[in-house]
């Protein structure tokens, strides 16, 4: 009887089990609701086809009827124009349908209208020409339409979609279908230095918003017939082109199959940016860590697919996605490989320690000040205590104020117009910091900590990884505020417990750190000389393991 614990222990022990069960229940509900709302598994019963009057209609061969049909389906758009004319040498009427501002007007003028109206069909060929719908089609294709990109179809819906996408439509009397000529010209910008991932050394090329150009940039990189670019059409309402890129003889087939099936299962009306794709095909929605990497740099994509990873390009965005992602990738930069290995390794080491600081510095400050001032050297402890004399807040509040204000400053800096951005940075950083110290709200020592943290977090080469780190930093500060160093260690274990469970497309997120793969460690924190890096990373299980074989 002496050893039976007090009743409070039993109450606590029920808490020990009840709270995790509650937590599991909530997270399961959350996960289920995410799945059912925005699903990878398309809900069959809800999959009602959009009502479209166009889908089943095809050309009749009667010019007036077809033209009326086209006008009914498109003419209410202000930017759609119909240009009617007669083909020279025949009595055939024809109409060119195009969208202003999107269709290539040079092409329409000189390769559609000009040959048809000026040259037309010579006397000798007239009979052949007018025989049937097929003969008209064949004659036009072989004699008159001087363009490379030509499609023919009988259905109305693809025609309308094509015209609205920027191709020029051509309808000819007597022909039982439609021509789609050329491709959208639209506006595109020049190839520029990638803004979000600028490097000092290496190619100064970034992707643009046009998927054709982006594929071209990758092809331009070098000759390799092994590079596969597999095309998908995504988006249930707004159709967009998506291209999966990998090396046929390097990438593991299971990985490609997995990515392929996830892309196929994806369902959304319009994937506006590759960020949509990322969120729809990632493994864990509740994890703070990104499981696909986004990049503007073609060289990063090439490097990744040469390691046996795969990449996704989406039309309309300069951001490509790389998968699978491992933790180490977030702290590596292509520059590490362009520089010699000693400098590359040094910079990488620097970046790893900077990431460590960015994550833990404020929480360590809080725990040393509030809980374990005995652990720092006495003279330092004394000077900190002196500087903190008269401060109204405990260190956790103090650190939160400063960290939050620097995050707000950073966020404001992105939105600000370029000319006043730097001025705002000076006002915010210097003046507010100085004023806060003078006003006795925060200690000068904390200003150092916050500044070091902020600068360290800028060294992370992947922007979205930086955001993750910031979120975790604030959580770490809360843990440190409650439990001191013990809390910091517990939070470290919590992050590690999460990371060891996390997978990106079947690859453990923390590999090659764990499970130990000593061979892959040659390119982890240290970047070994290229002469030593003969093998591709074994964690991706590539088909061709040796980098030297041709």
């Amino acid at each position: 009887m002496f050893y039976i614990p007090k009743w409070s222990v039993f109450v606590q022990s029920t808490l020990v089990i009840l709270i995790p069960i509650l937590f599991v229940w909530v997270s399961r509900r959350l996960r289920d609701s995410i799945r059912s709302v925005f699903s990878l598994h398309l809900d069959k019963s809800k999959n009602v086809k959009r009502e479209s009057s166009l889908s089943e209609i095809s050309g009749t061969g009667q010019y007036d009827q077809d033209l009326q049909m086209l006008q009914e389906s498109m003419a209410h758009n202000a930017d759609v124009h119909f240009r009617e004319f007669t083909i020279r040498g025949t009595s055939c009427r024809a109409v060119v349908v195009y969208v202003e501002g999107l269709a290539n007007s040079n092409l329409i003028d000189s390769h559609l209208i000009a040959p048809l109206m000026r040259e037309g069909v010579p006397e000798a060929d007239r009979e052949d020409f007018e025989q049937s719908s097929e003969s008209i089609q064949a004659y036009l294709e072989s004699h008159l339409l001087t363009v490379s990109h030509l499609r023919w179809g009988e259905k109305l819906q693809p025609f309308v979609q094509g015209v609205l996408n920027g191709s020029s439509g051509l309808l000819i009397e007597g022909m039982k279908g439609f021509f789609l000529v050329g491709m959208a010209k639209g506006k595109s910008r020049n190839v520029e230095d990638p803004i979000s991932e600028a490097l000092l050394r290496g190619p100064r090329i970034g992707f643009t918003e046009r998927i054709g150009e982006n594929m071209g940039l990758l092809r331009m990189h070098g000759k390799d017939e092994g590079m596969v670019m597999k095309k998908y059409e995504v988006g249930t309402r707004v159709k967009k082109e998506l291209v999966l890129i990998y090396m046929k003889d390097i990438a593991n087939q299971e990985l490609i199959n997995e990515i392929d099936s996830r892309i196929r299962r994806m369902a959304i009306d319009d994937p506006m940016d590759s960020g949509y794709i990322e969120q729809l095909i990632e493994d864990s929605t509740l994890s703070p860590f990104q499981q696909l990497q986004n990049t503007e740099r073609p060289d990063r994509v090439i490097g990744a697919i040469l390691e046996g990873r795969a990449a996704i390009l989406l039309d309309g965005t300069p951001f490509a996605l790389i998968m699978p992602v491992t933790f180490s990738m977030l702290l590596q930069s292509p520059e590490d490989y362009y520089e010699r290995w000693i400098s590359g390794s040094f910079v990488r080491l620097l970046r790893f320690s900077a990431a460590f600081l960015a994550l833990w510095a404020p929480s360590l400050y809080i725990s040393f000040i509030s809980y374990h001032s005995g652990m720092i050297p006495t003279s330092l402890a004394l000077s900190i205590v002196e500087s903190r004399q008269g401060l109204p807040f405990p260190s956790i509040i103090e650190a939160f104020i400063m960290e939050l204000s620097i995050e707000i400053l950073r966020e404001a800096g992105i939105r600000l117009p370029k000319p006043i951005g730097p001025a705002m940075g000076i006002v915010g950083g210097l003046i507010i910091g100085d004023a806060a110290v003078n006003a006795g709200i925060v200690s000068p020592f904390l200003i150092i900590v916050v500044a070091v943290t902020a600068i360290s977090s800028f060294t992370i080469p992947v922007y979205s990884a930086g955001i993750t780190l910031r979120i975790l930093r604030f959580t770490a500060m809360i843990f440190a505020g409650i439990f001191g160093l013990y809390g910091v260690i517990m939070f470290f274990l919590l992050i590690c417990s999460h990371l060891v469970k996390l997978r990106s497309f079947g690859i453990p997120y923390l590999s090659p750190l764990v499970p130990y793969r000593f061979r892959d460690w040659k390119d982890y924190v240290i970047r070994s000389p290229l002469k030593i890096l003969k093998q591709r990373p074994a964690m991706l299980n590539p088909r061709d393991k040796d980098r030297r074989t041709n």
Partner: protein, 369 residues
């Protein structure tokens, strides 16, 4: 009994098995080991007891290996009924589950004691314990593979920190404290074996791990690493404690290892007073031990009741919590640790040879080729 875990997808490498054994062995007891040894035998020769008990552990581990190799891909809980029949097996398995639960409760309690002594004087203990248990639960739900990976992250950090902290006291080391060797004869050395064994038992987790290994044949490597590395570390700790602090001081300190780290001081570093820092790092080590024990206990329950291991992970949690609150004082906790050592020697040192013999006689399991 049906296998309740998927051992095909959730496999561990040999290195991971070795790391798990090391992490399981090295837990809270390293903080008090020198004092426990000296209480049993007041002689500087106790380091010989550590080596001897390392040998004994290795031998006991060998028997477990042999036994496991007769039953490929099965944990102790699964093949026990085949050897002894169900009724006897249930009794033994329940004892083992109780052992693992008590063991993890002991680990938990020791962690709480040192934490609230050195790091968080005013924080209520239950909150310290709960944070610890929940994170361990979160980890263990991921299965043995994620546990193994976490152990792989933690072990290098803790070992390097611990060795640096311990070895920094080398310039205070006085070899005279360890002399004369065998001055009191061999008897006190033998007395010291019992507490040394209780700190070194960890080979028993092989009963479970071998079943999860990709290449069970390499179990012997995991055993070698899992016995000799902890033996070396405890040996260094004991020798340095006695060599630096002396016999008397070591025997009278609550946590001689922490006192050892406190004994030296280096100026001009970022940190002073390394004992708290080392303790903080060592909490991770206790965390991994605890999570393995918790997992072992839950796995036993899940095999017995034929349920999924994840739900049993939740059920064992409050049991461990209550048991960890049973000892009233630190001294009782340490006593509990010693009792657990004895239980472990009987359960996992004495039983396996008998089980092996029975299985050979009853012709159960595979023959060794």
């Amino acid at each position: 009994m049906v296998s309740t875990t998927n051992k095909h997808t959730d496999q561990i490498t040999t290195a991971q098995a070795a790391v798990l054994v090391i992490n399981y062995t090295l837990g809270a007891s390293i903080m008090t080991i020198s004092r426990n040894l000296l209480e049993a035998a007041r002689t500087p020769d106790i380091w010989i007891s550590v080596i001897l008990s390392g040998l004994i552990c290795f031998l006991a581990g060998l028997f477990i290996l042999w036994l496991c190799q007769r039953f490929r891909g099965k944990t102790l809980y699964e093949f026990m009924p085949e050897i002894t029949g169900k009724s006897v097996a249930y009794v033994i398995i329940i004892i083992m589950i109780v052992y693992f639960i008590t063991m993890s409760a002991y680990e938990l309690r020791m962690m709480t004691e040192v934490t609230s002594d050195f790091l968080l004087e005013d924080t209520p203990r239950w909150s310290i314990i709960m944070a610890f248990m929940w994170i361990a639960l979160y980890l263990n739900v991921g299965g043995i593979n994620s546990m193994a990976r976490l152990n792989e992250i933690v072990l290098p950090i803790t070992l390097i920190f611990f060795m640096v902290c311990i070895l920094s006291s080398l310039n205070l080391f006085d070899i005279k404290q360890l002399r004369p060797v065998l001055g009191a004869g061999i008897t006190p050395v033998l007395h010291g074996i019992m507490p040394a064994l209780s700190a070194l038992t960890g080979y028993e987790i092989l009963f479970i791990l071998i079943a999860f290994m990709k290449t069970p044949k390499q179990g012997i490597r995991a055993l070698h690493a899992g016995v000799w590395i902890p033996t070396m570390i405890i040996l260094i700790t004991v020798i340095l404690s006695i060599g630096v602090l002396g016999l008397y001081a070591t025997a009278n300190k609550t946590y001689p290892t922490l006192t050892l780290v406190r004994s030296y001081e280096y100026q001009g570093l970022i940190f002073e007073r390394f004992e708290s820092l080392m303790l903080v790092i060592w909490i991770m080590q206790m965390f991994t031990s605890f999570s393995i024990m918790h997992y072992a206990a839950s796995l036993g329950c899940s095999t017995m009741f034929n349920k999924k291991p994840n739900s049993l992970l939740f059920v064992t949690l409050p049991l461990i919590f209550i048991v960890s609150m049973v000892p009233k004082t630190l001294m009782e906790t340490v006593k509990l640790g010693e009792m657990l050592g004895v239980a472990s020697i009987i359960l996992f040192g004495g039983f396996p040879p008998i089980l092996l013999l029975v299985s050979v006689i009853r012709k159960k399991g595979m023959r060794r080729k």
